[in-house]
């Protein structure tokens, strides 16, 4: 109980500090620390799936994305290091009150929600064994509410397209920091890369029975991609080659094909024919999401073998 209160208070303080930060960099570090404490909170609440996702996406990849954005802003002198706070608006208070009200209402609804027999959770838990899955979270994501998941993968693709459209022709010129020249980096990359690969594939495979799954695995792969980009092993390219394009769409494509294919054989739309389809969809999702995150980090439409 003390730990619950402590975590909750810590999260509020960190979120506040991340937004208010005296300097922009302090805000970024606070955000990363917030991600770590949120990981601990999910772990303490007994949801390793969410803890993994938060660690990999929240603290890891998003932290790296925000840092690279900070660096690029500093380079073009868009940010004054001393005064990052945005102009105050009178609407702020109204928005704050409304947002608090919304969060409160959702919280109240969650607390007073039915936990008895009529819930979808019970139905799902009863039918889960039929799907061959052991992890209810993967069950929800891929089998029971898979239209949501399909849209999530599509949103990631849309984010890439939007980033390209926003950058236009300039995207090939987005700068990246030079790789630090120390003898320690090569061994680090050479050790981390194979290990990350194995752990990511494990998470993908484990996702059907134990905590893990495509989102966690893709975030880990994206982190590896970020490492390779930062150390100059992989560089940005002015155009996406066919392999990159295929990787970007494969998640949405495979998901749609499996879902539509069910209509052909007379099953409902987006029904999942078996455990193999879960693995297929998850693997495709892993590739697409991971690749998109790396491309967003590199700020380029495509990737090439080596940075010059």
């Amino acid at each position: 109980m003390v730990i619950d209160v402590f975590l909750a208070l810590g999260l509020v303080v960190l979120a506040w500090q991340a937004l208010i930060g005296g300097s922009l960099f302090r805000g970024i570090v606070m955000f990363i620390v917030f991600g770590m404490v949120l990981t601990l909170a999910w772990a303490w609440l007994g949801s390793p799936d969410l803890a993994m996702a938060e660690a990999a996406i929240g603290a890891g990849v998003t932290g790296a994305l925000i840092m690279i954005a900070y660096w690029r802003l500093r380079r073009i002198n868009a940010v004054e290091p001393r005064d990052p706070s945005p102009a105050r608006s009178r609407l702020a208070l109204v928005i704050a009150v409304l947002a608090t009200g919304l969060v409160g209402a959702i919280g109240l609804a969650a607390v007073s929600a039915l936990t008895g027999d009529a819930t979808a959770a019970r139905v799902m838990n009863e039918t889960l064994p039929d799907t061959g899955l052991g992890n209810p979270i993967t069950g929800v994501l891929i089998v029971f509410r898979n239209l949501d998941t399909l849209l999530e993968v599509a949103v990631v693709l849309a984010a890439y397209i939007a980033a390209r459209a926003a950058l236009g022709r300039e995207s090939a010129d987005l700068p990246l920091p030079p790789a630090p020249d120390t003898p320690l980096l090569t061994p680090l990359v050479v050790t981390l890369a194979p290990l990350t690969m194995v752990v990511a594939i494990y998470l993908l495979k484990a996702g059907s029975q134990y905590p893990g799954g495509a989102f966690q695995a893709s975030a880990l792969l994206a982190a590896l991609g970020v490492l390779l980009v930062l150390t100059g092993r992989v560089g940005p390219a002015a155009a996406a080659n066919w392999l990159t394009r295929a990787g970007l769409v494969i998640g949405t494509l495979v998901f749609c094909l499996v879902g539509l294919g069910m209509l052909v054989i007379g099953a409902p739309l987006l029904a999942i024919p078996g455990i193999w389809a879960v693995y297929l969809i998850e693997a495709a999702m892993m590739i697409s999401i991971g690749l998109t995150l790396v491309l967003l980090f590199a700020g380029a439409p495509g990737l090439s073998g080596k940075r010059s």
């Binding site: 020249d181 003898p183 090569t186 890369a193 194979p194 594939i201 494990y202 495979k205 484990a206």
Partner: protein, 162 residues
């Protein structure tokens, strides 16, 4: 690819299978093998051939040395942190590097930070001079001992003493 690199890739493959076993147990060894092969090919793609390889039978001695020294380092720094007078004398010392480039030198740079009182702060571009930041009086002996230990581990000298 020569025989030595092939051997290295093989060792990496075995280690990755071991990692898979630690994570997953014996449930799906085939998937694990595929994962390990993908990981090992990534290793082959990324790795840079290294001319020095460690003498495996000298590893236990080094590990022991490392553990003892890093415990000493931690106790030392804890003592300084809790001491009311905060007995810290920060100093920056340039130290010559005798170890060859590659693994031996990298090991030196990383392990120094865990020894009592020393921290590797910078290595100049040709790798011959290491800036060591120290919080106690004389880091010279520590660095020299470590260099000798690493040189011995890689079979560059016959005795682990400076």
């Amino acid at each position: 690819m020569n025989r030595l690199s092939l051997l290295r890739a093989g060792i990496v493959l075995v280690l990755l299978v071991l990692v898979w076993l630690i994570l997953d147990g014996l449930d799906s060894l085939l998937t694990g093998l595929v994962a390990a092969v993908i990981g090992a090919s990534l290793f082959v793609l990324l790795h840079v051939p290294r001319p020095y390889h460690l003498r495996i039978w000298r590893l236990p001695r080094f590990v022991l040395f490392f553990l003892v020294e890093s415990v000493r380092g931690a106790v030392d720094v804890a003592w300084r942190a809790f001491h009311p007078a905060l007995p810290i004398v920060p100093a920056m010392i340039d130290h010559g590097v005798e170890l060859p480039a590659g693994q031996p030198r990298m090991l030196l740079v990383s392990v120094i930070s865990l020894l009592p009182g020393t921290l590797s702060a910078d290595l100049d571009s040709d790798g011959k001079m290491l800036k060591v930041h120290a919080i106690s009086e004389d880091p010279d002996i520590a660095v020299r001992t470590l260099q000798a230990q690493i040189a011995y581990l890689y079979g560059l000298i016959g005795t682990p003493r400076p």
